[in-house]
Amino acid sequence: MTGLEDLYREIILDHYRSPRNRGELPAPPARRVEGFNPLCGDEVVVYVQVQDGTVSDIRFAGQGCSISQSSASLMSAAVKGKTVAEARDLIRTFKAMMSVHEARLGDGADGTGAGNGSGDDGPGTTVDPESLGELAALQGVVKFPVRIKCATLSWNTLAQGLDDDEKGEPDSL
């Protein structure tokens, strides 16, 4: 049986107990996007500010389990200061790390209301966990398929925010 230590790595518990970038940003100028996991009732709100093609600031709010909250925290730390293109690459890489199983579970059926924005990540993409830094700590989640939605919730929500920003659409509710 897969052990809990594969899921609850120390980095994950640390980000859960002391989340980075938790809070809100004034929107506008930031984008505010909500994501839901209807299975468990978890919700996340991502505030992302894009300036000159760079993710100049990011915050997240909402409530959820240790996996969804730590994933949001790790994500915020990873994309802050990156260009939008780099952030999109990271979303793609992260979702690929989760995607083999996610595809099997039926991607797109998550009803998050957000996400699928970068739906071009497919199974078969090889991921080098080294390139993900601390995010690699979430690798163990794929061994617990029902928790993958928890880990990808904030990433899908951020992808939606970046899509909205690019299209110049009003804030998603």
Binding site: M1, G3, L4, L7, Y8, L13, Y16, L39, C40, G41, D42, E43, Q63, G64, C65, S66, I67, F144, R147, C150
Partner: protein, 370 residues
């Protein structure tokens, strides 16, 4: 096993063939209907027990047939704050479709129904749809009292028995309901089959639910004549093996005795409540009535600030299966001020050692997320 016998020895459709296998299928299917009817004290099991997909479909059947025939703009349906989505959304759909008004019975501080205002709430109500036991809180509702008051006010009464029928002796006459919905999978039976019991006079008057084979007496180019009860409400090939399986589950439960099942659960719940109090005190919140006479053996837990998903994950590693989430009762969860709980539920196969394993696993979650 009776349902494997069905697949091994007949696997024929019902109410069609004249060959031996088909007759045997008819016999098994019809016998289950009668067994299920007797299990709930139905006065006329052969006509009043409708097999559905689950309790959800049973409620939808009533909403789509009795509801559409009897409810229009401004008519009132009375629900409670502790209903499962299965007994909320079909009525919300009617509200959207034809302007039916929904009213809600609230809860007191121990998550029992607050019936202090019932007479006023019942004024002008055409249907009361209420659970007999909350699937989240375990609260046993005073259903017979509610039904009596509802009938005095001229309303028809639907009981959502999905949680109570498996755990308490059920008698539709004693409950005083006009409809009773429940599911087989919560009472040792298969998935994919549920029951709607209804008073014969009401069922006779109701239009059919789904159209197709089996539910008709005659079909012409310009119309159709519905079949008699209960087939009027059973369009298409029914879940035959599942019905036979439910019949077997019912026979088993009757042999054990529902009084014995309930007494066992009361004892186990009392043991769990005292164990939890002793080991976790105020760190472990249990929603619902504190007295075991007012509740069944479902315990919705909130442990410190450990998220129910995380709690359930740790419990799973200890071999304890609990549901974590909103339990298909989001209006109730909002009332409770949480997005989710972890819910442990007991049945006749559990004993005190299971409670001990559960308590140990909760303690382990406490260490991991300290």
């Amino acid at each position: 096993m009776p349902w494997t016998v069905y697949y091994q020895t007949t696997h024929a459709n019902v109410h069609r063939g004249v060959y031996t296998f088909a007759e045997e299928a008819d016999r098994l299917y019809d016998a289950s209907r009668v067994a299920v009817g007797r299990f709930i004290g139905a006065p006329d099991p052969e006509h009043e027990v409708i097999f559905t997909k689950n309790a959800t479909e049973s409620v939808n059947l009533v909403a789509a047939t009795w509801g559409r025939a009897n409810l229009g703009r401004g008519d009132v349906v009375l629900l409670t704050d502790m209903e499962h989505h299965a007994n909320i959304v079909p009525w919300l759909m009617l509200a959207e479709e034809r302007g039916v008004e929904l009213r809600w019975v609230g809860l007191d501080e121990e998550y029992r129904l607050d019936l202090s205002d019932l007479e006023r709430l019942l004024d002008g109500v055409k249907l009361v749809a209420c659970t007999t036991m909350s699937n989240v809180l375990g609260t046993i509702t005073p259903f017979a009292d509610i039904a009596e008051a509802a009938h005095r006010a001229g309303a028809v009464v639907l009981a959502d028995g999905a949680q109570s029928v498996p755990h308490l002796p059920t008698d539709v006459g004693g409950l005083g309901c006009d409809f009773l919905a429940f599911s087989a999978h919560k009472m040792l039976g298969p998935t994919g089959i549920g029951v709607l019991w209804g008073r014969r006079e009401l069922l006779e008057e109701m239009p059919p639910f789904m159209g197709g084979g089996g539910m008709i007496r005659d079909v012409r180019h310009d119309g159709f004549t519905p079949n008699e009860l209960p087939w009027k409400f059973e369009a298409g090939t029914p879940p035959i093996a599942e019905a036979v399986g439910l019949g077997a589950a019912v026979s088993y439960l009757q042999a054990v005795g529902l009084d014995a099942v309930h007494a066992h659960e009361v004892e186990l719940t009392a043991y769990a409540l005292s164990t939890f109090e002793e080991r976790f005190g105020s760190d472990l919140k249990i929603f619902g009535p504190s007295g075991t006479s007012e509740r069944g053996g479902v315990l919705s837990l909130a442990f410190r600030d450990v998220h129910p998903h995380d709690l359930a994950q740790v419990l799973d590693q200890a071999g304890v299966c609990v549901r974590a989430g909103h339990h298909c009762a989001k209006p109730l969860m909002r009332r409770m001020g949480v997005t989710a709980t972890a819910r442990a539920s007991f049945y006749l196969y559990n004993d005190e050692s299971d409670v001990d394993v559960l308590a140990d696993a909760i303690a382990e979650a406490g260490t991991l997320f300290a």
